[in-house]
Structures are given as C-alpha cells and as structure tokens.
C-alpha cells in the first residue's frame, strides 16, 4: 500500500496509543498489563467499560507488544461484530484457530513472543448466548495454546460461565483533566487553538468518551478552520442548544397544551434527535429547584417509558408530546389519572 497522506487519517486512528503504558487514565489496568508483558504470562481477559475509554486500543497494543509486527498476523485472530460470529463460526473458525499448536517461546528481539495465540473478540456483548455457550469448553480445552480477550460495553451481557473464566478489567470513563490534556496534546500537534470554554464544552458533551471528543474536534476543525469556539463544537456534536430545551420546559410550565404542542412540532421540524432531547430535559428537571420531589419523580417516570418506546421504534413526535403532556400535568398539579378512562 502506498504511504498514506498523514492528513487523510482520522485522528482517532492517528493518535491511538501504540503501547499499553500510553493508555490514559486506566492506571490499575495498565499496571497489571505491563507486568503481564514483562513476564509474558497472561490469563484470559475481559475488558469492559463505556465506549471510548481505550478497551480495543489496549487489547491491540498488548498483542502488538507481545508478538511484534512479524508474528502478529499468525498469532492473533481479531474478530468483531463486522464478522459473522454465529455459532457456526465459533464451532469452526475459532476452534480451528485455537487448536493449532505454536512453537515454544523464542524471544525475538524486543518482543517476548510467548508460546500461545491470542483471540480478540471485540464487541463481545453482541454475540448470541448460544455462541457464548459454545465457547466455554473451547476456552478450557485449548487454554495451553490460546488466550481469549473479550471486549464489551456491558458485562451483564456476557454469560456468567465465560466471565468467571476471565480476569476482569473495568475501564473507567475519562476524567475531565485527563481528557483536556489529551485534547490539548492533539491541538498542539495539529496546530489548533482552543479556548478554555471550548475545552470544557468538549469535555462535557463527550461525557468521558475520548473517541467522541476527538471525532468532534476533527469535524469542527474541518468545518471551521483552526480556531474553534464552543458553539462550533455544539453544532458538530448534534447536542441541542440549551434555549430549545428551556423553551419546551417553559411551555410545559405554562400549562397551555397548544403552546407545548407547537414547541414539540418545532423540535421535530428542526430535526433534533428526541432521545437527546429527553436526556437534556431530564437534566433540566433534575436540576430545577422550584419543584417538588414528587413532581420530579412523575416526570422522570414518563421520560423513562418514552425512552423505552423510542428504542422500540415508536414515533418521535407522539412520544415527545406524551412526555410534555405528562410534564405539564406534573408541573401544574393537574390530576395524573385520566378521569374518563373506563
């Protein structure tokens, strides 16, 4: 492949840490894993945590550090959700790869090259339960020559028998300082200027997800040039401006149904994502100090049920209208029960 132009690469790939020790903020994980690399002895591992915290990065880095570029191809099998991972694949592909024996540990240059192979199963929570069950015995039978790395967002989606066979590592969401320092580093490299306000906006809209922060940054840099304000970042991220949320909340507070209906129509026509709207409305409601706890609870209940309905694919307009109607009834102390419902 011809050498790529540097600028063509997404920054997320460009600034992906190449070594385990460079992974930001996950101190315990890094400590254990550096030890692993030194002794070249590693158990099955399970990485879990929210998106953008460095799980895949760590897994790839550790594999690279163990084998180096030459052996990497033959020793590591990387499977993610873009590959078919039905039960058939587990029974054939994974099993075949796991069963192959490898030569005894010959240290090659700087790389330990331990005598086992690694199978990385990325996004393991999207594997079916059957497929996971089929893995159980495979893991044990070939444990001499194969190690499994599972990567997932939700540990509860991994069946217990698999989880208990692995050493678990939790990846924490990144704190604001770490995120800021990482972003500033990238800004320096790319020649961007970012003021303090934009920096804090970026950390708050990305909610501890470094990948998201970097993607937004690159998007904003492409669109708005090298000096980026916090407004640019908001427009790139798809977050809803606070005024819009406030307007809807105020309309609910006024107790006028038609006004609320108009606001809802406006939100939909402007194309704001309703799930985002619900999340922001939730924050407004929780932080409001002039309403009772009971009112808050009622509103949150309706938010929760609307969120579930949206995930089922229900219509955004109707759900948001229902939420506004519920909110209005809670805020204006109207009766919550329907009087004409037989």
């Amino acid at each position: 492949m011809a050498p790529l132009l540097q600028s063509s690469q997404p920054w997320v790939e460009k600034y992906r840490p190449k070594q385990v020790k460079d992974v930001a903020h996950q101190d315990e994980v890094v400590r254990v894993l550096t030890n692993t690399i030194e002794t070249a002895n590693c158990p099955h591992m399970l990485f879990y945590g929210p998106p953008g915290t460095g799980k895949t990065t760590t897994a790839l880095a550790i594999a690279h550090q163990l084998y180096g570029p030459e052996l990497y191809k033959s020793r590591v099998l990387e499977l993610n959700a873009s590959d078919d991972r039905g039960i058939n694949v587990v029974r054939t592909k994974i099993k075949d790869f796991a069963a192959v024996a490898v030569g005894s540990g010959q240290r090659q240059g700087a790389y330990p090259c331990p005598p086992y192979k690694i199978i990385i199963l990325d996004e393991a929570d999207s594997m079916t339960e059957d497929a996971q069950n089929a893995l159980r015995r495979t893991m044990e039978t070939y444990s001499k020559v194969t190690r499994f790395f599972f990567i997932c967002n939700y540990i509860s989606r991994i069946i217990e028998p698999l989880a208990s066979r692995c050493a678990k590592f939790r990846f924490k969401p990144l704190s604001e300082e770490i995120m800021s320092s990482r972003i500033l580093h990238i800004c320096n490299e790319e020649g961007l200027t970012l003021d303090a306000e934009a920096l804090s906006t970026l950390s708050s809209i990305s909610q501890g997800d470094l990948r998201r922060a970097i993607t937004y940054l690159q998007g904003a840099a492409r669109l708005f040039g090298s000096s980026i304000s916090s407004k640019d970042l908001i427009s790139v991220s798809g977050a809803i401006p606070l005024e819009v949320t406030e307007a809807l909340y105020a309309a609910c507070k006024s107790g006028d149904f038609d006004l609320a209906n108009k606001e809802v129509n406006n939100v939909i026509a402007e194309g704001y994502p309703v799930s985002q709207m619900l999340a922001q409305l939730f924050e407004v409601v929780v932080e409001a100090d002039d309403i009772l706890d009971e009112q808050k609870a009622r509103i949150c209940k309706s938010l929760a049920s609307a969120d579930k309905c949206l995930i089922d694919g229900a219509d955004e307009y109707l759900q948001l209208l229902d939420v506004s109607s519920n909110t209005m009834r809670a805020l204006c102390n109207m009766p919550q029960e329907f009087s004409y419902d037989s």
């Binding site: 011809a2 790529l4 132009l5 600028s7 063509s8 997404p10 997320v12 790939e13 998106p51 953008g52 993610n80 959700a81 873009s82 039905g86 058939n88 694949v89 996004e123 999207s126 997800d209 990948r211 998201r212 993607t215 690159q218 998007g219 492409r222 669109l223 790139v236 991220s237 798809g238 149904f257 038609d258 026509a269 402007e270 194309g271 994502p273 309703v274 799930s275 985002q276 609307a306 309905c309 949206l310 089922d312 694919g313 229900a314 219509d315 955004e316 307009y317 109707l318 759900q319 209208l321 229902d322 109607s325 519920n326 009834r329 109207m334 329907f338 009087s339 004409y340 419902d341 037989s342």
Partner: protein, 359 residues
Amino acid sequence: MLWVDKYRPKTLDQVIVHQDIAQNLKKLVPPPIYSFLLLSAFAFLWALWFWQKTLIMALLRQIFGTSAEKVKVENRTWKIDAGSRTIDLELTTLSSTNHVELSPSDVGFQDRYIVQEIIKEMAKNRLIDTKGRKGYKVLVLNEVDKLSREAQHSLRRTMEKYSTSCRLILCCNSSSKVTEAIRSRCLNVRINAPKEEQIVKVLEFIGKKEGLQLPPGFAARVADKSNRSLRRAILSLETCRVQQYPFTSNQAIPPMDWEEYVSEISADIMREQSPKRLFQVRGKLYELLINCIPPEIVLKRLLSELLKKLDEELKHEVCHWAAYYEHRMRLGQKAIFHLEAFVAKFMSIYKGFLIATFG
C-alpha cells in the same frame, strides 16, 4: 418536467435554503491537488425531507465533478454463504464510477448480511484513476435508522477499518435510532426543515424564473399550508398554477386528498360514538391503508385533527393514548388493529366526557 426537479440545485453554490450547511460541506471537499484520501470520516445524520438527497448529490458533484451525475440503476443479487445455507439477497443500487448508493434496510431482517458482506466487499475494492493514483469511493447508505441493531454493530468496525479507501455517508430521519457507537464515529450534520420565510424565498425565486405574477401574501399562504416541507410547497404551487392563472390572492390551495379524508374521519367520530360508526370508520381506515398512506402518519394526522376540536382536559388523555397505540403498532404486525383500537378508545373517552358534562 416538474418544477421540483427543474429547480433542484445541482451544485452546492445554488442551494438557497441551507446556505450555511452547504458552505460547510464545501469545506469538506479537498482542493483538487489532494483529490485523494483527504476527507475525514464523515456522515450525515439529519432530518430528511427530499433535501437530503439534493445536498448529497450536490456534494458528490463537488467532490468528483460531473462524473457523479452519470448514474445507473442496477438490480443486483448476491449469494451469501452463511454456514450451512446460502442466502439470496436482491437489492437495488444506484451507482456511478465513484459512488454507490443503497438502502440496506430494504432486505428486512437480513440487513446484517448486506453490511457484513457487501459493504465490506465494496469498501475493499479500491479505485485507481487514470494517473494511477488511488482514489476513494463514497458509499451512501439510506435509512440507517431502520437498520437492525446487529447491522449497526457490524458497521462500527467496518467504518474504521476501511476509512482510507472508502467514505460513508449515512442518511436517516432521526438520529435517535442510530446507536451511540456509530454517532460518535461520524460528523453529524443536522438539516432542519426549512423555515416558512425560506420557503417563501424559494417560491418567489421560482416564480421569477417562470415569469409568474405572485400576488402578495400568496406565497406565504402556500408556505403555511406546506407543513415546512419544501417539496410540497413547490408541488402545490405548481398545482395552483395549473388550476388557475393568473393567481388571485384569495385562491384556494388544494389540500392533499388523504388529509381531507382523515379530517372527515375525525369529524365522523366526534359526531357519533357507537359500534356502528366504528365499523364505518374501519372501512375508511382500510381505504387509507390500501392507498399506501403509512399508518403512523394516519394516526398522527388524526390526532392533530382531534386536538383542534377537543377541550383542554381531554387533550392530555388523547395524546397519551395516541402515543400508546402508536408504540403498540410498531411492536405488532397489523396496523389496522391499533388504529381501530385508538379510535375505539377515543370514542369511549369522549362519550364518558360527554356524559359527565351534559348528563
């Protein structure tokens, strides 16, 4: 040629309504000297009115020049080997030398295979232009919000892996239904529905080009009736032109047939609440469904018609049940059951209200 097609902007410079977005999109297009591999991974998540397509075509034209306009429509079949059985998939694609457009959700629950196999295959093949440079392809995926969860998961890593040779443009109506993992990998561009003033501007522009006399306030009325949809505004302007020209300022703007029909239904159920009326309404609802009006649109329209006439205290209740039955409709199979259930529920509530108020 319809005016809608005639006045469709061909380049990003001709765009009237979303000038700011068009200008931003232009910045994504690299200057010709680097015309390979320079775009950052981006995708559009925005509210769809037909505008979306227009902007995408204009953007592609900006990137690839006129060759993006020579498109061919193909009905292709793929054979996919999935373990013990093979699956045949048929999909319509729209492609030029540099881009391919498809709607993976057309194949229903098997959309996962489209993403896993076909998109991967397309992404892997790289283009080489006449000077031997490596180019890149653009894949336009429609209706990403209708993709199943598995398919969206499959897209995640594919997007990253082939980012040097392939860019994805994703279109959807609402980004709520696109998973967080995909959204965080994309540059999100939100397109709002055009404001009424903007629609008026476009209508006046067309009027000028066509040499029409628009009486003052007429364009504003057309825009008002259009529900913030530009295409509808242009279509109804053309309809009015056919009906009566020169325009008079109080000329009636014909509403859509089906909307008329829904308001008839709403009037029916307000007038009488009985099983017999329910039976009559069922016929009308069937009529709408047979004419391919999506059931959720029918329900929404019916709700808005009812809300116009109801008392304040009933509105909350009715809109709650509308949301409830629409959700049920999404989970279920037969839309007519849920539409009818909503009508019956409304009748029962309204009757109860009438009895409580008037005895």
